[in-house]
């Protein structure tokens, strides 16, 4: 099943020539990447991190600034941008992770707003509301025999972003199914209990937080170089809410949930362009209806259906 999906994903550019559809798929992949990383801290570690959009934005802006202002090539910039974001994430996490539950959620939301305001107001560095223009696409990767992979076509960018998404999923899947993942889930289940068993809950939370900011930053860098333009809105708390919506509509704490959420909602929101009712009003109704009628998101709904049909799978 997974293999078929991957093969389909890789062959899509061969029979879909529409640049528009590929563009939508690329956006889906970027959002799926960010949502998957958010799922690690939120779904598996149980910490409602409402600063995730800020890390996406910091990653994107770091890469944009490194490439444009310092002239650093794409690949080192990608690594540096992720490193910068993780260091900032470390500082924020150290402070914010002392709090729990709603306090953590709103505390991180404050950080998100602060980050956006700083990006918006620090015009000397970030160009403020005018935004960063003309971030170049990644340079070609040289191959043996004088060939190279150039990132001029939409399809090439699609592959770069698809591979990044698959890597993200692979790494997070491996983490979730390792001892580290078990310690994250122990914190989610009951933090006090986990600590009383000798676990360092703070360490587990911080680690999960940092890994998730790393991938958020990576997704941000890909967004920056693909779109080529950044404005402060890309770090806004609305981005965080959107990612949260993807995770919850898809199914929080499942591997496929955030992917399904990101793809389905991005596509629904594109499809809603054609209808008579104002688009966002319709989108709002879709969200509420899914929330009320599909408990646990689309994955939760699918599992319920599976159980009802007599399947013995599910858990």
């Amino acid at each position: 099943m997974v293999l078929i999906m991957i093969i389909v994903a890789f062959t899509i550019p061969f029979f879909v020539s529409s640049r528009f559809i590929l563009h939508i798929l690329i956006l889906c992949c970027i959002w799926a990447m960010a949502a998957t990383s958010m799922n690690l801290i939120m779904g598996y570690t149980g910490q409602v991190n409402l600063a995730h959009g800020a890390f996406f934005g910091i990653g994107a802006y770091s890469a944009g600034l490194l490439i444009l202002k310092l002239g650093i090539p794409f690949w080192p910039a990608l690594i540096l941008a992720c490193a910068i974001t993780v260091v900032l994430g470390f500082l924020i996490g150290l402070l914010a992770l002392r709090t729990k539950g709603s306090y953590f959620a709103i505390g991180t939301m404050c950080f998100n707003v602060i980050v956006t305001v700083i990006i918006d107001s620090w015009e000397g560095l970030t160009e403020g509301a005018r935004g960063l223009l003309g971030i170049p696409r990644p340079p070609p990767i040289p191959l043996p025999f004088g060939k190279e992979i150039a990132f001029t076509s939409v399809a090439a960018n699609y592959y770069l972003i698809l591979v990044s998404l698959l890597l993200t999923i692979l790494v997070i899947y491996r983490i979730v199914h390792s001892m580290m993942g078990r310690s994250f889930m122990a914190v989610r289940g009951n933090e006090e209990l986990a600590e009383s068993l000798g676990m360092n809950a703070m360490k587990a939370k911080l680690l999960s937080f940092l890994i998730s900011t790393f991938f958020a930053a990576w997704a941000g860098v890909l967004y920056a170089t693909y779109i080529g333009f950044l404005s402060p809105e890309i770090s806004d708390y609305h981005v965080t809410f959107e990612l949260l919506t993807f995770c919850l509509i898809g199914g929080l704490g499942t591997m496929v949930g955030p992917l399904i959420g990101a793809f389905i909602l991005t596509i629904i929101s594109e499809l809603l362009h054609g209808i008579a009712v104002p688009r966002m009003v319709a989108y709002g109704f879709v969200l509420i209806i899914i929330m009320i009628f599909l408990r646990g998101g689309i994955m939760g709904g699918a599992r319920m259906l599976w159980l009802r049909l007599g399947g013995k799978g599910g858990r």
Binding site: Y237, F285, L287
Partner: protein
């Protein structure tokens, strides 16, 4: 010195509005555990209701305000019944997403009905007082006065009436309240009606000074969440004091340092408080 007093007065005025919104939100979030992000959108609806009643129907300010409080209270009950009640037993995150859906519906709905332009109230209560080099408009005095009156009324309602006692009981222990025969569903409806009515009052009070537009709820709801966390979840005095702190920080930092970083200062206060006391000023351990 007069700049200082002027800014403090502005801060108290802003703080009054924040307190009212935060009180409504702390009822919904602190007591019912519904992270109602749509509270700001409802606040915006309240402002439009007041505006329509005052301009198109020509009611006077007070009547418009009371009618819009009642109307928004009813809308609040409806929202609770249709959207949040089915999610009662789910994780609060489900309600959070549903609330985001509501924001889309209300804000985009208002955008389509009224357009994106700012609406200005007909001038009311424009008398200006000059005391010791400080300027105060009558509307600002009304804001503070009405806020104090509403806070006192809310306090009396919760402490002195049976209905208020059922709210307090539900806040302390939902299962326990159900066991002694309190109809928790009814409590939820009353709390929601109260919360949204307070939002309507806040919106009616501020909109003659600030302008009415579809996006007006966004910044307010963010601050309201910050305030109730600052004060401690579910604490009514916390929401009131937090509201005034937020108003004062915002107007003083705006007056003395920079208005561009206004929100940074306001939110940095919360971050600082949480670093010292992770459960807010009045929060239980």
């Amino acid at each position: 010195m007069s700049l200082f007093i002027q800014q403090v007065l502005n801060g108290v005025m802003l703080g009054s509005v924040y307190s009212l919104v935060a009180l409504g939100l702390t009822l919904e979030y602190g007591i019912l555990h519904i992270p109602n992000f749509a509270h700001g959108a409802l606040y915006m609806v309240g402002a439009y209701l007041t505006f329509l009643l005052a301009t198109y129907l020509g009611f006077n300010f007070w009547l418009a305000m009371i009618l819009s409080m009642i109307a928004l209270g009813l809308i609040g009950v409806l929202v609770e019944r249709l959207v949040f009640r089915p999610l009662m037993l789910e994780s609060p995150l489900s309600s959070f997403i549903a609330a985001i859906g509501l924001i889309f519906i209300f804000v985009d709905g208002a955008l389509n009905i009224f357009g994106p332009d700012f609406k200005r109230f007909p001038p009311t209560h424009t008398q200006v007082f000059h005391v010791l080099g400080i300027t105060i408009t009558f509307q600002r005095i009304i804001i503070v006065g009405v806020t104090v009156a509403l806070i006192v009324l809310l306090h009396l309602f919760i402490k002195k009436t049976t209905m208020g006692a059922t709210i307090e009981a539900t806040a302390q222990d939902r299962e326990g309240a159900q066991l002694v025969g309190i109809n928790v569903k009814r409590v939820r409806m009353i709390v929601f009606a109260l919360g949204t009515a307070l939002a309507a009052a806040a919106a009616a009070l501020i909109s003659p000074i600030h302008l009415v537009h579809p996006g007006m709820g966004g910044p307010v709801i963010l601050k309201a969440f910050v305030i109730i966390i600052l004060g401690g979840m579910g604490s009514l005095p916390g929401a009131i004091i937090g509201g005034f702190i937020m108003g004062l920080v915002e107007s003083l930092s705006g007056g003395y340092i920079s208005t561009a970083y206004n929100e940074v200062f306001a939110f940095a206060v919360l971050v600082t408080v949480l670093a010292v006391r992770p459960t807010g000023l009045f929060g239980a351990k």
